[in-house]
Amino acid sequence: MSRSAVAGRAGIAAIVILAVVPPAAAQEIAIVGGTVRPVSGPPLDGATVLVRDGRIVAIGTDVEAPESARVIDATGKVVTPGLFDPWSSIGLVEVDLVGSTRDERLADEEDPVTAAFDPVYGLNPGSTLIPWARTGGVTTVATGPRGGLIAGQAAVIDLVGGTAEEMLAEPRAAMIAALGEDAVASAGGARGGAALRLREVMEDARFWASRRAAFDAGDSRELSESRLDLAALQPVLSGRIPLLVQVHRASDILAVLALAREYGFRPVIVGGAEAWMVAGELAAANTPVILKPLTSLPSAFERLGARFDNAALLAEAGVPVAFSTFENHRAPAIAQEAGNAVRFGLDLEAALRAVTLGPAEIYGVADRYGSLEPGKVANLVVWPGDPFETTTLPEAVLVRGRLVPMRSRQTDLLERYRTLDEGRPPAYRHR
């Protein structure tokens, strides 16, 4: 990678590169001198993070950068794990109101249960949302389906790679469901009806698993969902993957916990505007909550108890939390969300965890993602200061051990329109 690409054509303050190795050689990068915030442990001042072949190999104040390594001087800067957005449809949506660019929705009112739906088939590695997100410090997202009662399966992807296969970090990492007001509307209109439907599906999934041969032989009662949907629910029933349930009202959250006890699945609450009201129950069940810290309005009857210190109250009670913007196109603003959680009382390290290791744990990839530890995937960000501060933008981003160019469609447009007086129309101004 060229020096100018690292510094960013957009004029982002230059990272000093002390040694440059040809891209063909083994990728070995040493980030030296920074305040390293590994999340898995306390911050380390003046530490080195050594990265080789896509992984973190060493970290500490006594780590020497080998001669062969490209050195990034992070003196006075902050090094964190790449941010991990736990609630996204990046790669599945380009323009919200252009239906042909949306591949995250299969469930509808006719068929609100599409558990077998694996949207990764439609994942677009060329999406303009990807460079925008990663130059904003988001290196990994859980991208998943939306809609209905059971929308389908989410995958964990790194924001790099030319094919869906290359991007995948963990396929089918969670099942996405909903029991909030919108979902209830798609299932007849009454909360009890939606729960009934969910129960029916769970019962049938159990039934199918125990009589699979008979089912295949055509010797089975009628089932509410297709064979593929019922098969897809088995990892949920066995507890191998979590069931993420979009729900806000305190009583709805308790209903999810009750269903989870009944069927033995591992729930994760998504949204959870009133989660703080049942923090004790969530903590007792060790149930995580993915939330948007900037939620304070009673914007629906299911969110009357929304308040800014939701995350702080949950953390205080021992509930694992993770944060998202809940907006595909504004993934970098996840840092601002985390900052606001801190503004309303959450510990700074806990907030960093909520956008790194917290999501990794929810999706079962914490052995590879979410913190800066030897052996983990080298997704990390160099920030010129506090990563959550409004005035801080990433200076360098590594995904799988490689520096990514700080370019996006946004920087292309900026370059084209940086000046307006070049004589020829903008259409002639491009690289």
């Binding site: 957009a10 004029g11 982002i12 303050a13 380009e94 323009v95 919200d96 109101l97 252009v98 303009t128 949302l129 009201m277 900037l294 939620t295 304070s296 309005l297 009673p298 914007s299 629906a300 009857f301 969110r303 009357l304 108890g305 308040r307 800014f308 210190d309 702080a312 109250l313 595909n328 196109h329 504004r330 970098p332 603003a333 601002q336 900052g339 606001n340 801190v342 503004r343 309303f344 009382g345 959550f388 501060e389 409004t390 005035t391 801080t392 933008l393 946004q410 447009l413 900026l414 329109y417 940086r418 307006l420 903008p426």
Partner: protein, 477 residues
């Protein structure tokens, strides 16, 4: 308007953009055959007997000296160890080492910052309130592509909890607009963010009314079946409306000058005639640069000014034209991709428009965004600086204070910390551009209307009583 002086004020305010192309109002006054010029003006404005004018009364206030703060004036200065004296509902003095008058409340603001009250040019609080249920959907009279006859003020629910939440974010003035379903959506209203029993009691006294217009995708999507279904249909619809309005205006202006039988009123044409006279300020929802160019053409054809483009995701592409025509642009920091015309976002939009000498404004169009305008201005500043654009802190502050004040025609009364302006100010717990900073104290017209440390000075709406647990944490846990 509640006081006799208010119409005089209205008549005396001549805004550069609004006055250039219309007959002067003084002329009308001189040539009305001895009739009361104020009554004539009222008739033209559709204000007949004042029934719909503001009934806002400021809350009780005391002379207040805020001492030892970092004072960001929005008028070019950042004064460390600065003081601000509020008296008689105005900013009396800004400086250092001010003496507290005998009766003054003294606020020690050491370590804290003071700014003008935050102003949002684009809100739907009250017309799309919380909770967002169908029964509360009040922002779009989506029954016809041109509805200049409707007034947003008549839809505003003053019990929207969004108002009090915005207040906790330091917002003291906001413009509530109809939605963008229609080419001409109706009149917007500027309010002081002091919740009361009626929206009328929140109306910013003597403020110009505004007109919401919309370019692009929304009208053609909403009226796909009956039309307009294309951009060319959009522009034809707008031009036809102004052709009719010009005839109507001429009829009334003739009456204003020469008397005779009063013409029959038409609410829709009345509003557009007021636009043509420069009295009602056009606020135009418009994303794409080519749409904005067409809007400037439409304004030239009919001789009015667009006061501000709104959303203006591509404002950076025509920032030279915005500067040339003195048209402001109300923008977001980084919203994009929700529809085709919002695809070409650059997060330097505000910084680029600012650099070109046009008025850049950070607006929200969102009940959550309006609570963190200080943060989003800071983020837009950071994106600009990272790209090598020289954005000063004062300029970034003006994006949420002085420039929106101008867009609402209120630049002589709010938007900076200067002597004589309304005492609408915010005392912040720290640097307002930090994500960790809270609005500690908010004053409107000199009255303390929000105090983060005191639940009694944190307004709650009727809706929230008995249905929503009180949140009095104020972030201090």
């Amino acid at each position: 308007m509640s006081r006799p002086t208010t119409l005089v004020l209205l008549l005396s305010i001549c805004l550069g953009a609004g006055c250039a192309s219309v007959p002067s109002r003084e002329d009308i006054g001189h040539e009305t055959d001895g009739r009361d010029s104020l009554e004539v003006r009222r008739a033209l404005a559709g204000m007949s007997n004042g029934a719909w004018e503001s009934t806002y009364e400021p809350l009780p206030a005391r002379t207040t000296l805020i001492r030892n703060a970092t004072v960001m004036t929005g008028a070019g200065e950042e004064i460390t160890g600065g003081d601000v004296l509020l008296a008689d509902r105005r900013i009396a003095t800004v400086g250092r080492g001010l003496q507290a008058p005998a009766d003054a409340v003294v606020v020690d603001a050491a370590g804290r910052f003071v700014t003008p009250g935050i102003i949002d040019t684009h809100s739907h609080l009250g017309v799309y309130p919380s909770p967002g249920v169908e029964a509360h959907s009040e922002g779009n009279e989506a029954t016809d592509p041109t509805t200049a006859q409707v007034w947003a003020i008549h839809s505003v629910w003053p019990q929207d909890p969004g108002f009090t939440h915005a207040l906790a974010g330091g917002v003291t003035t906001l413009e509530i607009l109809p939605g963008s379903a229609n080419l001409i959506g109706g009149r917007g209203v500027t309010v002081k963010n002091v919740p009361n029993r009626s929206a009328q009691a929140m109306m910013f006294p003597d403020a110009r009314m505004t007109l919401k217009m919309a370019c692009g995708e929304n009208p053609k999507r909403v009226y796909e079946d009956k039309g307009p279904s294309t951009r060319m249909g959009n522009w034809a619809g707008m031009r036809e409306a102004f052709i009719e309005a010009a005839v109507y205006r001429e009829k009334w202006d003739r009456w204003a000058r020469h008397g005779g039988e009063e013409p029959e009123r038409d609410l829709a044409k009345e509003t557009l005639a007021e636009v043509l006279r420069g009295e009602v300020l056009v606020q135009n929802h418009c994303y794409r640069s080519d749409d904005m160019v067409n809007m400037l053409n439409l304004a030239r054809e009919f001789g009015f000014q667009v006061r501000s483009f709104h959303h203006a995701v591509e404002a950076y592409k025509i920032r030279d034209l915005l500067a040339r025509d003195s048209v402001a642009a109300s923008m977001w920091t980084d919203w994009w991709g929700f529809k085709m015309e919002a695809f070409d976002m650059v997060p330097q939009n505000l910084a680029l428009v600012s650099e070109a000498g046009a008025r850049a404004i950070l607006h929200t169009d969102d009940p959550t965004g309006i609570q963190i305008m200080n943060q989003d201005a800071a983020r837009a500043m950071a994106y600009g600086r990272a790209a090598g654009l020289d954005v000063t802190r004062d300029e970034a502050l003006r994006w949420i204070t002085a420039n929106p004040a101008w867009a609402l025609g209120l630049e002589d009364r709010i938007g900076t910390l200067e002597a004589g302006k309304n005492a609408d100010i915010v005392v912040w717990s720290g640097d307002p551009f930090s994500v960790y900073t809270h609005a500690d104290l908010v004053y409107i017209d000199g009255a303390l209307v929000y105090d983060r440390s005191s639940p009694e000075v944190q307004p709650r709406t009727d809706f929230e009583l008995g249905i929503r647990p009180a949140d009095t944490s104020g972030g201090d846990r």
